[in-house]
């Protein structure tokens, strides 16, 4: 566990550091059978060190789309000797996801902006987990033609591209400020029609097949409120 994991009270798992800095000595003392990590967060040096110490490390891909997530999950199933169970779960999730995609495919595409930070404005760009979910949910991420995955975005472009929905990730004090900041631009459709939503960053920013499915359901509800059942 790291400092950023959601910690359930009473959980006795050891915290081994933060997203950016990991306590390698603590890891060695815990004698892990397998270490799972991700390409995000720049832990390449740590992975090299751990492998040199003969500790098995599995690095998840950057998991920017559902197919990558499935591949990782399958791989994980093999590593843990639970291949059949993994295949089963993948199959269920896969079916549900394609059902959902099917449902929204005929609906008109909705322009969306996903905001991660207000000042400066940082948004979800192309090749991100968020972008993939938005697209799957029948939306168009207005920031998807930028070069950076998490760009500092021009407010002018938001006004011009006029998103119909704005989503703000996060749960704390910052989101109140973020909501208030948009009040200045009443002619943006999302502001005019009060379609600014706060979404749980724990769900949408932690890629896994299950989170993908759950986030997809959440986002579809937000983008197409008229759509019956799930």
């Amino acid at each position: 566990m790291t400092n950023y994991c959601q910690i359930t009270p009473g959980d006795k798992k050891e915290i081994i550091g933060s997203y950016q800095s990991i306590d390698i000595e603590k890891i060695i003392l815990l004698k892990p059978d397998l270490i799972l990590t991700t390409k995000e967060g720049d832990l390449a040096q740590l992975v090299i060190k751990l492998r040199r110490l003969n500790i098995p490390v599995f690095v998840f891909s950057e998991s920017i789309n559902f197919d990558d997530l499935k591949k990782d999950f399958r791989h994980l199933g093999i590593l843990l000797g639970r291949q059949n169970r993994a295949e089963q779960l993948i199959k269920t999730a896969d079916r549900k996801v394609s059902d959902l995609r099917q449902q929204v495919s005929a609906l008109p595409k909705i322009k969306v902006l996903v905001e991660l930070n207000t000042a400066p404005l940082i948004v979800a760009g192309p090749n991100t987990f968020i972008d993939e979910i938005i697209t799957s949910a029948g939306g168009i991420n207005i920031a998807r033609d930028t070069l950076s995955r998490w760009p500092q975005y021009s407010v002018e472009q938001v006004v011009l591209k006029n998103p119909e929905v704005i989503m703000i990730t996060g749960m704390d004090q910052k989101t109140k400020k973020a909501l208030k900041a948009w009040e200045k631009f009443p002619q943006v459709n999302a502001v005019k029609n009060k379609k600014i939503h706060v979404i749980d960053s724990n769900q949408i920013c932690q890629p896994s097949i299950n989170n993908f499915l759950e986030s997809l359901k959440t986002i579809i509800k937000l983008l197409h409120p008229d759509l019956k059942n799930e």
Partner: protein, 342 residues
């Protein structure tokens, strides 16, 4: 050259830059629409919103901050009789940035009322700036206020401050790190009109005060002993001008983070045009600093958005001032190496 003529040339350039920068941006506003919107703001028109609510406050911020930093640069170079003195090199920007980082990271942790978050950032930046000034002063007083003592103290302090900022960053959440980094790099995209109004109340009178004390700065430049013989209370004036300058810097940093080189580059260019006297130097630098930062920010917010791969992506203006300022200054230094560093 005639000072009055120069004043009008700079003023004209300033107005011209202001309007050109207002017309240019990532969103294409045709000239015909631009003129219409300029005289008839219309809240329902997205182009009008872009010009009046996005570009206008940002340009005002660039103008104020550029003017403030350049004027402060002049004052510091005069007080310290050192061509390399500027808010950046004295550690005052660094202190303000540390205060700001602490505010950005910690304010979001607590459920504070909205006005605290608005006031918190400039206040923390001001505390940081004054703290670093106090420390630089303390170090310098141990070294009998020697010019090298002040500069060296400032440089060392900025190293300590930037290490503390890095310390806070390693403990912060990844998304907070990115937003803090973009703020620290010098960024005008986050200018808040409320904070800008408060800041202008300090920055504009601050520049005027520096201008009024321009003659005293001329005398101080002659050296401490001569100044004392001429009846200037050198220590008091120095302290007073330091505090005024720190106030200006704190409000600049609170609005837009650390914007490098404006306080160094602009006064040096102006010295060529204006000569060594501080009063014309300060108003000249304030005007030129405003022009420079408006131009730099226009580049920062458009250079990538006009490419096919970078649509909508903005750069922090500090990156542009850093690169442009650095290259200009290097060229300048190599050409006049004998004059700049005596």
């Amino acid at each position: 050259m005639n000072k009055l003529l120069l004043f009008f040339i700079l003023l004209g350039l300033l107005v011209l830059t202001f309007f050109i920068s207002l017309a240019i941006g990532s969103g294409n506003v045709p000239w015909s629409d631009f003129w219409r919107i300029l005289f008839n703001p219309d809240n329902t028109d997205p182009l009008s919103t872009i010009i009046w609510q996005i570009r206008f406050p940002r340009l005002i911020a660039a103008l104020l901050i550029g003017a403030g930093l350049a004027a402060v640069g002049c004052a510091f170079q005069g007080i310290l009789r050192n061509p390399l003195a500027e808010p950046y090199t004295l550690g005052i920007s660094g202190g303000a940035a540390l205060g700001g980082t602490v505010a950005i990271i910690f304010i979001s942790k607590f459920n504070l009322p909205g006005w605290v978050t608005t006031i918190g950032l400039p206040l923390a930046a001001l505390v940081g700036a004054l703290l670093s000034l106090f420390l630089v002063y303390l170090i310098a007083s141990r070294l009998y206020f020697s010019v090298t003592g002040l500069i060296l103290g400032g440089v060392l302090l900025s190293f300590i401050f930037s290490s503390l900022v890095l310390l806070i960053m390693t403990l912060a959440q990844p998304d907070e790190v990115k937003s803090t980094l973009l703020w620290m790099a010098g960024n005008l995209s986050m200018v808040q009109p409320d904070l800008l109004k408060i800041s202008s109340v300090f920055i504009i009178p601050g520049i005027i005060i520096l201008f009024i004390f321009g003659r005293d700065l001329d005398v101080i430049t002659l050296g401490d002993e001569k100044a004392q013989h001429l009846g200037i209370k050198i220590i008091q004036i120095r302290q007073f001008l330091f505090v005024i300058s720190s106030l200006i810097v704190a409000f600049c940093v609170a609005n837009a983070g650390m914007i490098a080189f404006v306080g160094l580059l602009i006064p040096h260019l102006m010295r060529i045009l204006m000569g060594p006297k501080h009063q014309p130097l300060i108003w000249g630098s304030a005007l030129a600093g405003g022009i420079f930062l408006m131009l730099a920010d226009t580049v920062a917010r458009t250079v990538l958005t006009r490419t096919s791969f970078g649509q909508g992506v903005e750069l922090p203006v500090g990156v542009i001032t850093g690169i442009l300022g650095g290259i200009f200054f290097l060229a300048f230094l190599l050409r006049r190496k004998n004059n700049v560093i005596n």
